[in-house]
């Protein structure tokens, strides 16, 4: 048994949550700043813009899920404590975590910008809110595919 393998795998679990989470934080900040500007004019729009602001938050959740899936693969839950990984298996798991981490990081930042534009759209034409949400979701698609890639790769790794 090689402790470095487990360490590398845990690095993967950590990176998944922290990169995707960072992206979400940046994305939400971008959208929230625009939203605050809109609310300074019209506080009654809070409910409408909140959804747009919250949208880039999902990447952080996907990242957390990535962490969870890696930990589950390693048997952290459910009593299977005799984890033994070779270094190469550790790297495999680390690489498996990258799609959700990196796609999450960048898509959340850009989704934040799209959402910010959606907030402005909603400010001018409240009835167009859903269109703004759909556009924001188009960006999110690629974080979902990142998560999907992580799920599929993790599923394929033999421990």
């Amino acid at each position: 048994m090689d402790p470095i393998g487990l360490a590398i795998a845990i690095l993967g679990a950590a990176v998944s949550a922290f990169l995707a989470g960072t992206g979400s934080a940046i994305g939400i900040a971008t959208a929230a700043q625009t939203a605050n500007g809109v609310l300074s004019e019209d506080p009654s729009k809070f409910g409408r813009v909140l959804i747009l602001v919250a949208m880039p938050g999902t990447q952080g959740i996907y990242g957390l899920l990535g962490t969870f899936l890696v930990l589950m693969k390693l048997g952290f839950f459910g009593g299977g404590s005799d984890v033994s990984l070779t270094m190469w298996q550790g790297w495999q798991i680390f690489f498996a975590a990258l799609p959700v981490a990196i796609a999450g990081l960048f898509s959340a930042i850009h989704q934040g910008r799209t959402s910010a534009a959606g907030v402005e759209l909603t400010a001018k034409r409240p009835e167009a809110m859903i269109q703004g949400i759909i556009h924001s979701a188009l960006v999110e698609t690629y974080a979902i595919f990142g998560l999907l890639a992580t799920i599929l790769i993790l599923n394929g790794i033999q421990l």
């Binding site: 959804i51 919250a54 949208m55 938050g57 999902t58 959740i61 996907y62 957390l64 899920l65 969870f68 899936l69 589950m72 839950f77 459910g78 009593g79 859903i130 269109q131 949400i133 759909i134 924001s136 979701a137 188009l138 999110e140 698609t141 979902i144 595919f145 998560l147 999907l148 799920i151 599929l152 599923n155």
Partner: protein
């Protein structure tokens, strides 16, 4: 599946009855009035004007501002009452009566004055606060501020240093001058407030040292007295302003009593403005007025009867649309499908010769929504919540019904995949063992253990919906007698799609090898017909082939992208289930906290699962809609229709009810 049939009508009426007619049409709300300027009649009649519409609109917007202002003083109700909105229920006659008798001008002015005074006080208060903030560091200064000024023989400068300490500055000054002295008013870590004295003859070297040390000179022009006295005085002033603001708030709370009347007056003037501006759409000759519009065919008889009864000598008749004129579109579906109309309306209306895609997309939408959540427990919550809100809320029923339908599919999908609030049998206490048994009995597979099965389901749904979309288009083509398009545009595509799938399944060993040659030939024939017949107009074989090959390339790439897009269902579904499990794990950890363990666990469970439901219901809604918009609709749906907008009352603050006695 259908669109409401529309008929174009013309109404002739005595010129003087114009207002009466518009009032009636507004009440009935079933006619869309066309702008006569844009019709062939425009040159033959005099087009109406709408004098005073702007005045009524301005009055309404003044009243609206007063309503917004006065709402700030209102006591806030609970969330539910906020959602339900607080509309005034009133009968039509009372609306008019109150709007005309109520002195809204006085109330608007009173509220406006109060708000103006409040804004003024707040601005003043902000200035005073800033003033205190500026003086506060100097409050230990024992000299009146008017003394901080150059004298005949002495220079006196007050200022702030940040980069260097007061000691360092005194040292630097001592090197450059013999008379300079530093009085430290306050010294903090970040910055120090100092007063520097020197003999006037040493002005230059001292100033030079101060410049080099980034000494930020402060001037206190027009200020007299000790800083601490000034601060105390200002604090008193702020207190009296606060007092006055409180008084104003109390007065404002009293003015809230005007709000219902203002709401009524607002709606009255908005409706008046709309009616007056509608006059600009009508035309008239010397004695006879004329208007054109669209009406739902089924309402024609009733409305023409109403008009001819109320307006003397009015005449309603059906007319033919002008060349190329399209009727406005209204979707018409069975009650079960009606909530799904929201999806189509957001995308855009079909044109008049198209079918309404709502009932075709609706079931898929609900199924996809269920797929995105795949947790029966969450489904039960969604269904319950939708029913509850439908009972209490007047608004948003369509969306709530979508939540209900999606919730039902969520329960189904959750049961099939063993999702019940993300619980796994290991974490259940023994007295809840039956939950595990039930879960096991209903479950077909566990997506966390077999993601590939879920993957296959998602891909299969993609194949089904895309084939369905192409098949709809094919039927449409046949119905329009465009047999060639049906065969060479749609059927070839369907064959290529399915032969690709089957070849894949054969390679995976799921379908017997013996089908291979047949499928291959079918695919080749389909590809060749696509190449040969995509462009059916040109006689030039090279042009036809070019168009065909390009189409084939497009079909291949876009189909691949479309179908892979459905795999989001798997990822979203697993995200919901995975996060639900995380919440349970965290809750179990919380349970072990001494003393507050059980409440902490309950808090984590309730807050966590509520959050997870909210986020994933939103995600499920958005991504299910996207699959309709980007993958499904373009296969058969063109859109481009103009929604039917009847001339009617659109009240903002009131809801009309039958007059009660």
């Amino acid at each position: 599946m259908a669109l409401t049939a529309m008929q174009k009508i013309a109404i002739f009426f005595p010129r003087a009855a114009r207002e009466q007619l518009l009032g009636l049409l507004q009440d009935k709300g079933s006619v869309e009035i066309l702008d006569l300027k844009e019709t062939a009649l425009a040159e033959e009649v005099e087009i109406g004007e709408s004098p005073g519409a702007g005045d009524a609109e301005r009055t309404a917007s003044d009243i609206k501002r007063a309503i917004d202002d006065v709402s700030e003083f209102e006591e806030k109700g609970g969330i539910l009452s906020g959602l339900a909105g607080s509309k005034v229920l009133i009968s039509d006659d009372d609306l008019k009566g109150i709007a005309e008798s109520f002195d809204f001008g006085g109330a608007v002015k009173e509220i406006g004055d109060l708000e103006a005074r409040r804004t003024e006080l707040r601005t003043k208060r902000n200035h005073l606060v800033a003033f205190i903030e500026r003086l506060e560091p100097w409050q230990d200064l024992d000299a009146p501020l008017e003394d901080i000024a150059p004298r005949e023989v002495a220079g006196v400068v007050a200022g702030i240093t940040r980069r260097i300490t007061p000691d360092e500055l005194s040292q630097a000054l001592a090197e450059a001058s013999e008379t300079a002295d530093v009085d430290v008013v306050s010294a903090e870590k970040q910055e120090s407030q100092l007063v520097v004295f020197y003999h006037i003859s040493e002005e230059e070297p001292v100033q030079e040292v101060l410049r080099r040390s980034d000494f930020e000179v402060q001037t206190f022009e027009n200020l007299k007295g000790l800083p601490r006295d000034l601060i105390a005085g200002t604090r008193q002033e702020i207190a009296s302003i606060d007092h006055e603001i409180e008084d104003l708030a109390a007065k404002g709370a009293e003015l809230v009593r005007h709000k219902p009347h203002l709401m009524i007056a607002h709606d009255h003037f908005i409706e008046e403005a709309r009616r007056i501006s509608a006059e600009g759409l009508l035309g008239a000759t010397e004695r006879v007025g004329v208007m054109q519009g669209w009406i739902r065919a089924e309402e024609f008889d009733r409305l023409s009867g109403d008009i001819e009864r109320v307006v003397d000598a009015a005449e309603v008749m059906l007319i033919e649309p002008e060349e190329g004129e399209e009727p406005p579109i209204e979707l018409k579906n069975k009650p079960v499908m009606r909530p799904f109309e929201v999806i189509t309306e957001m995308y855009g209306m079909p044109h008049s010769k198209e079918l309404d895609p709502t009932p075709l997309a609706g079931p898929f939408f609900a199924l996809f929504f269920g797929f995105c959540i795949t947790d029966a427990g969450y489904g039960i919550v969604l269904v319950g919540l939708s029913l509850l809100l439908m009972k209490y809320l007047q608004v948003g029923r369509k969306i709530l019904w979508l939540g209900f339908a999606g919730g039902i599919m969520t329960i189904v999908m959750g049961a099939l995949t063993g999702g019940w609030f993300g619980v796994t049998p290991e974490i259940l206490p023994s007295w809840l063992g039956w939950v595990g048994t039930m879960r096991q009995a209903l479950m077909r597979f566990d997506p966390l253990e077999e993601p590939m099965t879920m993957f296959a389901w998602a891909i299969a749904l993609g194949f089904i919906q895309i084939t369905f979309g192409l098949a709809i288009k094919m039927v449409e083509d046949f119905r329009r007698k465009d047999i060639m398009a049906g065969i060479f545009d749609q059927i070839t595509w369907i064959i290529l799609l399915w032969s690709a799938l089957l070849i894949g399944l054969i390679k995976m060993g799921k379908v017997p090898e013996s089908y291979m040659p047949g499928i291959k030939w079918l695919a080749i024939v389909a590809a060749l017909s696509m190449i040969g017949f995509t462009n059916r107009v040109s006689k030039n074989p090279a042009v036809r082939m070019g168009a065909g090959i390009y189409k084939l390339y497009n079909v291949a790439t876009s189909s691949l992208g479309d179908i892979l897009s459905y795999t989001r269902l798997l990822a979203l579904g697993m995200a919901t289930g995975g996060i639900a499990m995380v919440i349970n794990v965290v809750a179990l950890i919380a349970k072990d906290i001494p003393i507050i363990g059980i409440p902490a666990m309950i808090f984590v469970l309730v807050a966590g699962h509520s959050f997870n439901i909210a986020v994933n219901a939103l995600g499920g809604f958005v991504h299910s809609a996207r699959l309709q918009y980007v993958e499904f609709y373009p296969k058969f749906f063109e859109g481009g229709g103009r929604p039917f907008r009847p001339f009617r009352k659109e009240l903002r603050y009131t809801r009309l009810v039958e007059k009660s006695n």
